[in-house]
């Protein structure tokens, strides 16, 4: 379980997250929605320890991410996929995927690379396994990014606006893979602007507004009268649907 209590985070004078309480249990797909600047990405970056938190507590399977020793354990349990892919430019797709299993989990290189190829195969990239990131399209790069996160066999997958940098066609390539993962029972925290997709795969929706969690509802409730009763949610949804 990922457990977040009383989380606060500021950048200088700007308070980005202001007292967040959220729990993500194994098997859940939780989508985090909210307008730009609401703190969604920062939330992910706090969970994986890329940002130091100012107050509160985040634990991943009871490992406290604010303690350096426990952070390493917490990071083994979660995998992050980034908006801008962040692939290692000097390594092939296979090498990108196999690096952490070899270095962190001490899987023998041959085995790690075979598993990497299998993963790449499962996202339709068997032909591109030996290509470098610069030789791949955006959608292909993001699929490699997903494989790289999955290679560590994480209990939780943290997805930070993973389709925001992709055109609609590439977006659908990537979303269909995520839909499969969700069906397969992968636990996900999915920060996104893809409202309809979030609706189709999530068990719960967390809605952030100005650094506060103003709704944490089962998906069907969020998109029905309960969610609409919250003015900010209603406003957000009507605006997103118009766009």
């Amino acid at each position: 379980m990922i457990s977040i209590t009383g989380l606060r985070k500021s950048f200088g004078a700007a308070t980005v997250l202001n007292g967040i309480d959220l729990e993500i249990r194994q098997g859940e797909v939780v989508s985090v929605l909210g307008s730009s600047g609401s703190g969604k990405s920062t939330l992910i970056r706090c969970i994986n320890g890329l940002e130091k938190i100012d107050a509160g507590k985040i634990t991943v399977d009871n490992f406290d991410v604010s303690k350096p020793r426990e952070l390493a354990e917490a990071r083994k349990r979660s995998g992050t996929v980034f908006q801008l892919f962040n692939l290692y430019p000097h390594m092939t797709a296979v090498q990108n995927v196999a690096l952490a299993p070899v270095e962190v989990l001490k899987v023998p290189r041959k085995q790690a690379e075979a598993e990497a190829r299998e993963l790449l195969n499962s996202v339709g990239l068997s032909e591109r396994a030996d290509a470098y990131p610069s030789q791949l399209s955006g959608g292909q790069r993001q699929r490699v990014g997903i494989c790289r996160a999955l290679a560590m066999k994480p209990s939780y997958l943290l997805l930070d606006e993973v389709t925001s940098a992709l055109d609609p066609e590439m977006t659908s390539e990537v979303l269909s893979i995520l839909a499969n993962l969700a069906k397969g029972g992968t636990t996900m925290v999915f920060v996104t602007h893809e409202i309809e997709f979030a609706r189709s795969i999530s068990s719960r929706i967390a809605f952030l507004d100005k650094g506060q969690l103003i709704a944490d509802l089962p998906t069907e409730d969020f998109f029905s009268a309960t969610g609409m009763a919250l003015p900010r949610v209603a406003q957000f949804l009507s605006k997103m649907r118009k766009d």
Partner: protein, 223 residues
């Protein structure tokens, strides 16, 4: 006056000996300055204020003093306090230290140019700091730094001619001797000029090849 290279024929073995010494000193100094540059470049980009400061001071000192002064200090100054080092070792060490200041600066800017997202991806995947440095930061920074490093190394080769001032008969030193023995400075220094040009040109070709090889998959300018 007649331009006659043939008078140098019998001095060629002696000049080649000098060239060989230049080659040895430069090879060692390139390796030394690269090693030093890597360490100092890493210190200069580390999160530790102390390491950072030490590295910055080193770079500032050795970049801002003429090489010949550094060399004289090591070779003529240190014996005064009881430290004797032979000319060749002094030359290699001085070149490495001076070169290391420039090398570390190049490596530092190579490291700073890395997309921070790439490093974050490595951090969240649980890699240890040292692994991230070895497997991610260094290879990316070096790929980007090959050409500017090449300029530093070429400069190092040219600077090695100054080693002739501390009794080391490398290429320039031996040419000076031949020039004074033959009274034909025009021919001798003409040959010297061509020799240095050829040496550095060969190095720049090698650097270009290395750059293209290391960056063969980065054609979109990804890094």
């Amino acid at each position: 006056m007649k331009f006659d290279l043939s008078i140098l024929a019998k001095h060629i073995p002696f000049l080649l000996e000098g060239a060989w010494l230049t080659l040895q000193a430069c090879t060692l100094a390139v390796v030394g300055s690269l090693a030093l540059g890597l360490v100092v470049g890493a210190m200069r980009t580390s999160a530790s204020p102390l390491l950072n400061r030490v590295a910055a001071v080193y770079i500032d000192i050795f970049r801002n003093i003429p090489f010949i002064v550094q060399l004289f200090f090591f070779y003529f100054g240190l014996p005064e306090i009881g430290i004797y080092i032979d000319a060749f070792t002094t030359g290699v060490v001085a070149l490495s230290i001076a070169g290391g200041a420039f090398t570390s600066d190049v490596i530092r800017s190579g490291i700073l140019a890395i997309d921070p997202g790439v490093i974050e991806a490595a951090q969240v995947s649980g890699l240890r700091k040292i692994t991230i440095f070895r497997k991610i930061i260094l290879p990316i920074a070096l790929r980007a730094s090959v050409r500017p490093l090449g300029s530093v190394f070429i400069n190092l080769i040219l600077t090695s001619s100054i080693l002739s001032t501390i009794t080391l008969n490398e290429l320039t030193g031996s040419a000076k001797i031949v020039a004074s023995n033959t009274f034909r400075p025009f021919e001798v220094y003409f040959v010297l000029l061509v020799a240095y040009a050829a040496l550095t040109y060969a190095v720049s070709i090698l650097i270009g090849m290395l750059h293209r090889y290391l960056n063969r998959h980065q054609e979109e300018g990804a890094v």
